[in-house]
Structure formats: structure tokens, C-alpha cells
Symmetry: D2
Subunit: 143 residues, 4 copies
Amino acid sequence: MPNSSNIGRVHYRHFLTIPTRWMDNDVYGHVNNVVYYSFFDTVVNKFLIEQGQLDYSKGKVVGLVVETKCQYFAPIAFPDVVVAGIRVAHIGTSSVRYEIGLFKNDEDNPAAEGYFVHVYVTRSGNKPTPLSTQMRSVLAKIS
Amino acid sequence: MPNSSNIGRVHYRHFLTIPTRWMDNDVYGHVNNVVYYSFFDTVVNKFLIEQGQLDYSKGKVVGLVVETKCQYFAPIAFPDVVVAGIRVAHIGTSSVRYEIGLFKNDEDNPAAEGYFVHVYVTRSGNKPTPLSTQMRSVLAKIS
Amino acid sequence: MPNSSNIGRVHYRHFLTIPTRWMDNDVYGHVNNVVYYSFFDTVVNKFLIEQGQLDYSKGKVVGLVVETKCQYFAPIAFPDVVVAGIRVAHIGTSSVRYEIGLFKNDEDNPAAEGYFVHVYVTRSGNKPTPLSTQMRSVLAKIS
Amino acid sequence: MPNSSNIGRVHYRHFLTIPTRWMDNDVYGHVNNVVYYSFFDTVVNKFLIEQGQLDYSKGKVVGLVVETKCQYFAPIAFPDVVVAGIRVAHIGTSSVRYEIGLFKNDEDNPAAEGYFVHVYVTRSGNKPTPLSTQMRSVLAKIS
């Protein structure tokens, strides 16, 4: 596997602990590469809900995922616990790019790193819509 | 939805906290019925690993799932936390039946109840094999 | 594993072919028990959509899953193809019970059998609501 | 959403049809971004199995996923069918980069594009190992 980028937990600004599940493991006995992206959108969306910036059933704007990427450095396996760290790397007019690091148990070298880009659109018309002032100040807290 | 069977947490003998994930939710904004079974095999297998009774990569015997059932009483939705309770209901020669209750956050009425039956077989030959004495005593602790 | 109930494909009235996916396999190299339930709600909901009986984004009634069960007779593994058969076993005032058989590739003995119960409720109030006449006639076709 | 890169099906060399499943949809009624990566590793691994280049239970070498990326251009929703196209973009000493396009139903503009990088390692020692001659010739067919 490639070496990690040597970005430890200090790079990230907000963390969520996500226990692995039995079915996360694939035939090789490690968490399947797909599941890492589930950790990505779980940490991002939970942060937004806790900060009052996401109401997925009634909100008038919706964050669409337009691009994601992940580099895998070391395996994770059930029953490991994943600590997902996020940092806002870029705030555009209607978009947000999050950098994400996944750490296994209490390790400081990431098992994986990637990013996740949301574009906000109106729920009804699917048109890009500017981030609210409140949303911008929430994002600034973890920039 | 049907009423629950009014079996609260007291019925169960071992618990595991399992946070929901963003993608657990389906189009109706609730955790999809399928995912509940992932909670089932996570709580059972994590218990067995912690008790030294499951080594899924090298163990000579394997627990095959032969039957599962779930009744759904109340919705769960991300970012709720699930508390999964288990109790061993029956120990056969080579099989174990676990009763499982899923509780939403700090509620005492189960959101769902079900069971999960393992039959132990040899990894190589796939033939039923009797539970070990050590395994029986571990299971007895949560009967 | 238990013997199957010896109910072949002839028992079912409608079929859907569902290819397995790489991540369906678990550490033992077989499709995880949880995933079988995804086959269940896929065959049922696709049938309802094709028959014009399910509009999950705008429909005024919603089918809640209240009970599911599965017995596992034989393993399935990626890249096997699953053929899911359904039959309506019971139609209540506001509920439907589907019997489901999962067949591996071109086999006639089921790899798994189970059932799936929907209760229909109003989307807004979550109260049980009687099945429509049109729905009843659709269900009758596969009874 | 961003415009697609206007790379149609003609860019890809091998295709697999993957029907969506009910639980692929998320709360917004579209296939969740995570699931796209399941389409990625399904099309790649099925191709390798069919070509006799992957025996996940007994093979002495294992393809580890070290990097994946996806750009999302247009939504897909159950019961849509996904056609996944792949092309080998780079063959290294022990690695392969696949470009992947996902097409909705019979559309020619991709709903998503991305890539997927495997590094081959020995199963026992987890050390990078050169691609076999046979593997290289299989990959060349879809380069």
C-alpha cells in the first residue's frame, strides 16, 4: 500500500467514532473499500445535523454529493472502531469540500484519507443555491 | 405497526451500542428493514470475539446463520443510536439461538425484536460440529 | 444446514433476477445473511412499481415492513445470480404477506426461503389504511 | 451538478449490467453516493473472475484497493439499471488503474465516472507482487 500522507489527527477539526459492523468485512477479512465512503457521509451529515444545518426530511436545500475520493493506507477490520476526522478545505458559493481522515482505534496515522464535495441545491428545482450565512459560520468553525 | 411484545431491556443479558449511519436510511427517512439484521450479526459476533469464541480468519469452526427473523415496532432514523440486546434462548448440540432486541437511544420499549440462529460447522467440510465446552460456558453467561 | 422445504420455483408466481455484488460476500466467502433481505425488498418493491402500485416519492400511502423471516439452506456467492420468486400468501385489510424464495443461478431447490409483511399506512399520519381495489387485484395475480 | 466529461460508452471496453436495489436509494430518493463504488468493484472483480484472473478464496495473490474516486453527474434511482463500463488506463509493475463509467439505463452520457486502483500483493505476506503475464494480456484486451 502507498505510504500515508503523514497527516495525523491534528489536521482534522471534528471527529466522530464509528464502530465497524460484521458485514463491513469482505472476503479478505477487511472492511471493504466501499464502506469507507459510508464513514465519510456519516461524519459529514452527522456534523451538519448536530449544528442545525441539515434537516433531511423538511429542509428546502439539499446537499448533493458531486465528487468523492479515497486513498487507502492500511486495513481496518471488524470489530475495529473507526475515528473519522473532518476539516473544511474549501467553501465555494454553493459548495463545500471536506477533507476526511479515517483512523483505526487509537492510531494517529490515518488508515485512509479522502475528500467529499457537497453542492447545495434547492430540493424542488435542483438548482445550485448559495450557502446561508449561518451555514458559512458553522463551516468556518472546522476550517 | 404491531405493538411490541412489551419485553424491555431487562429481558436481555448483553448489550452493544451501534450508531446508525447516513446510508442506513431509506427513501422514507427511516433505517431500512434490511439493516436491522446487520445490527443482529454485529452484536452476536462482537460478543463472541470479545469472549474469545470467534476467530473468523483462522478458527476451525464457523457459525453459519440458518434462520433469522425480525418484527419491527417503531422506526429508527439516522442519527439515532441503536442499543442491541441479546440473550441466548436455546443451546443445541451444534446450534445456538439468540433472541435480540433493538432499542432506540434510551428507550426501554424495543423498536424491533427478533432472533438469529447459528449452526456450527467445520470450516473445511461444512459438517455440523458440537459446541465446545468453553463455548457452552460463555453462552450460559447470557442465557 | 437444515434441509430446504422442498418448495421449488413452481410455488412462486413472479420472479426477478438479481445479480450478486462483490461486497455482498462476507469473510467466509458467501453472501452475508443480511443481504438476502435486500433481495426480498427489491423483488417486492420492483413488482409493485412495475404494476403501478408504488410511487415512493409521491404516493399517499406507504408500505411499512413489520415482519420478515428467512431460512438459509445453501450458500450463494459472488458472482452467482439470484432469482427471487414471490407469491402473495395473505392479503389483509391493510397488510400483505409475501412468501419469497431465493434460487441460485438455475437451481430449482431454493437457497433460502422466507416471508415479508407490509402494512400500508398514510404517509402523513402513519395510520393503517385499507388496500385499494386496484392493489388487491394486482396482488391477486400472484396469489 | 458538474457537467460530465462527455465521455460516452465508446470510451469503455467492457460492460456489466447491474440492476439497482431498493436499499440503494437514500432519503433523497436517489442511489446513495457510496453504492456507486460497489458498482465499481463489482464490474472489475466480475471481469477478473470471468477471465480466470481472480480466485478470491484460494488465489495466492490478492488485489488490494489503494485509491478510488468518483464524480457524480446525474442521479440514478431504483429501479434504474446501471451499465458499468471499464477500461484499463494504466498497468504498472504490480498495479492496475481502471477507469469506470456508470450509465443509467440506455443513456450514453455517464451518470458518474471514476477510477479504481488495485495493487497486487501476496496473500500471505501482503507484499507487492508483479502482475503475471497472463494477467497482463487479459488487461491489455480492455486497454
